[in-house]
């Protein structure tokens, strides 16, 4: 039974990353996506290499190897929890096949265990991004030891501990949401609180890490004196077999207890609507809208009624606006700071500085890939659009309209304010705003194009096309790659040609090409879905 369920879960996961063309039923672009994913994973891992060296140089000379691993494992644990917590609730409780599976003679614990494996896999990936560099750096500084094998197996135990925390947080979100009257709003608020907490810790991380590095000996003494179990567990990484067994046992027991707790409340969270009260229908005067306005409104309603959509594709908008407000409040302070920082840069970078605001806003804006999961989200209700007397062009316009309406009011002021902070002149500010707008337009068209090419319509959980689909990942990375390529190109051309005022041309040209495809062949492709 467990094997069959696991097979189903893995098939679902496989289908997400290797969507089939509906027409030919052939898999498309698997290799490219795997390569892209591997490149991204390795790139993120590199950011933990510096941190590992900082700790290794602080702890290893004092023979506090176990403290080094304690710190790195703790960081990996946090990264893993933060990386997977936002999807935990929807994966565990909001799957479409809940009723179907619960009607079968399958214990809730089995259903949950299989879903936990899906949460584990995403968390494990994040954990490895942080902990594998730590193991590699340790091998570089201390040499390859016999217990390298134990360190590799310990990845699994730390992954299980992260899964315990993630699933408990998902469970808490579930308990709150099940009692909430406005489920979408509550889910968004709870997630935002968790995110705010994460950023609070993140912005203090640097000074925290420095403090740890300078107080290495004190930390080692304190933990070994007052929290011996933590020391033993950390020694699982440094060849202590008893520590290894303790870590393994603790992880497995905590996981078992968590499965027990979650399975006892599974039905209550997955099927109860305590907070949903019957809303009486009150007749109000109706207004007629045009087709374009009706389709746009439909996109807006879907966006704001789907918490995973808001949190994953709209959070950058909120952050950009928050950044604008913060920059306006602390304008003078930031301007002085930036002037000092920019003054210390080598002269060859000076003429590229005018491009920085748009790059910053562009990176932030490219995180909001609202169009990319939009076609997949139509799911089983796609038939409605296809039998209406409307053209694919009108549907695409509405989808791109939502993207532009939500993104532009965040990206334009962001580019303008950063330009002002950097002391750029009016012309340079305008160039930046145009570049920011061109990137938003490119992301919009690319997202829709990829959504059309790699649709995922048979999902059982709406978080899947939003968080895990190839169309979202490819769109986001393509925007980053575009910004990076243009920055590098402008740098190499700096002596012969100032390319900065013309950088908007490439995103706009690509946007035009993509839209040309969408509004010609794309219309038929949409109807063929």
């Amino acid at each position: 039974m467990f094997k069959a369920l696991l097979k189903k879960q893995l098939m679902e996961l496989k289908e997400v990353y290797t969507p089939r063309s509906r027409k030919s039923k052939k898999k498309t672009g698997t290799k490219g996506f795997v390569i892209l994913f591997a490149v991204l994973t390795v790139s993120i891992s590199f950011s933990f290499v510096g941190m590992s060296f900082l700790f290794a140089d602080a702890f290893l000379p004092l023979e506090l190897d176990w403290v080094y691993f304690m710190m790195m494992a703790a960081i990996a644990l946090v990264v893993s929890v933060v990386g997977s917590v936002f999807s935990a609730y929807s994966i565990l409780y909001s799957a479409k096949d809940n009723e179907f599976l619960m009607a079968m003679p399958i214990p809730p614990a089995t259903i949950l265990s299989v879903r936990l494996i899906a949460v584990f896999l995403s968390g494990f990936l994040f954990e490895c991004m942080a902990l594998v560099p730590a193991i590699v750096v340790y091998a570089i500084r201390a040499g390859v030891k016999w217990y390298l094998l134990l360190q590799v197996v310990d990845l699994l135990w730390i992954g299980l501990l992260a899964l315990v925390l993630t699933s408990l947080l998902g469970f808490l979100v579930g308990l709150v949401v099940v009692r909430a009257r406005h489920k979408s709003l509550t889910t968004i608020l709870v997630s935002l609180i968790l995110l705010a907490l994460y950023y609070f810790i993140y912005f203090r991380l640097n000074s925290f890490l420095q403090a740890i590095a300078t107080n290495a000996a004190f930390i080692g003494e304190s933990v070994s004196g007052k929290a011996k179990p933590v020391m033993w567990v950390s020694q699982a990484f440094t060849g202590n077999l008893w520590g290894f067994l303790l870590l393994a046992g603790t992880s497995v027991i905590l996981m078992a207890l968590t499965v027990l707790l979650l399975s006892r409340h599974f039905g209550k969270i997955a099927f109860t609507n305590k907070g949903v009260k019957k809303v009486a229908y009150v007749e109000r005067p109706m207004k007629q809208k045009g087709v374009a306005a009706a389709l746009l409104r439909r996109e807006f309603v879907r966006f704001f009624q789907t918490p995973a959509y808001v949190l994953n594709c709209g959070l950058g908008i909120l952050l950009s606006l928050a950044l604008c407000v913060y920059a306006l409040i602390r304008f003078d302070f930031l301007k002085t700071g930036l002037a000092t920082l920019l003054g210390s840069l080598p002269p060859e970078f000076k003429n590229l500085l005018a491009f920085v605001p748009a790059v910053a806003a562009g990176f932030m804006g490219s995180m909001n890939v609202i169009t990319a999961p939009s076609i997949s989200l139509e799911g089983n209700s796609l038939w409605l659009l296809k039998c209406m007397p409307i053209t694919s062009k009108q549907i695409f316009n509405a989808k791109q309209g939502l993207h532009l309406i939500l993104n532009l009011p965040a990206v334009i002021p962001c580019c303008a304010i950063i330009s002002a902070l950097m002391g750029l002149n009016m012309w340079e500010g305008v160039v930046n705003v145009i570049y920011g707008v061109s990137l938003v337009a490119y992301t919009s068209a690319m997202g829709l194009y990829m959504g059309l090419k790699k649709p995922l319509l048979d999902w059982t959980n709406e978080a899947v096309p939003i968080k895990q689909s190839a169309s979202v990942a490819i769109t986001m990375f393509s925007a980053w790659a575009l910004v990076l390529a243009e920055s590098v190109g402008a740098y190499f051309l700096r002596n012969s040609f100032n390319a900065v005022p013309f950088l908007f041309v490439l995103p706009l040209a690509l946007c035009a090409l993509l839209n040309r495809h969408l509004y010609t062949r794309g219309e038929k492709e949409f109807m063929d879905l």
Binding site: K278, A280, Q288, K289, R298, V301, S381, W383, P389, M527
Partner: protein, 239 residues
Amino acid sequence: MLNISHLTKIYGSKKAVDDLSLRIRPGVIYGFIGHNGAGKTTTLKSCAGILNFENGEIEIAGVSIKKDPIFCKSQTAFLPDNPDIYGFMTGIQFLNFISDIYGIDASTRQKRIDKYSEMFELRDSLAQSVSSYSHGMKQKLAIISVLIREPKLVMMDEPFVGLDPIASHLLKGLMREICDKGGAIFFSTHVLEVAQKLCDEVAIIRQGKLIKNGSMEEIAGDAGLESVFLEMEGETQNV
């Protein structure tokens, strides 16, 4: 009203519909009968403009669906067997959305929504999210969304599945009402008793091919539709 000629639809190497020709006149309730996988849904979806087809022609009110799909879709309404409608909307939001798409003015839509939501006892639930609706409620909402448009041709795939007896009875009456006003109904069903009582004309399809079609009297005769259908199925299987 609906003219299907030599329709062929292929999935991979399998012919789901094979050279099917049918003609549905205004004022007629036309039943479409066949076993599971016979090609009924594929035919209905092709007529609704949801599926493209390889060969043949479908004309609605004399206009080819391939040449002017927008006009054809504005004349028709399709109701699938399992209407997956937008769970992120409330019932009234969904009906307003449909009304906007079909250009129904404010006062007309108000009257029609009132009339049909009262009729199907869904009015009190219109402010609720569609995701909280039962299967039957979703089916009723989808039916109301069809009725408020007053289409000339209604195509329905197993329309009585999931409906309570009262709603079923109401729907049958409304189907006749649409035809009396000059519209046409084309629907698939497995319930042969309903088909025999309700339909003016009927077509039987097997493995994508039309086996028999004509008026109910011609097809069912004295033996009844069920006997004829089972006899034909037996004959086809023996061949």
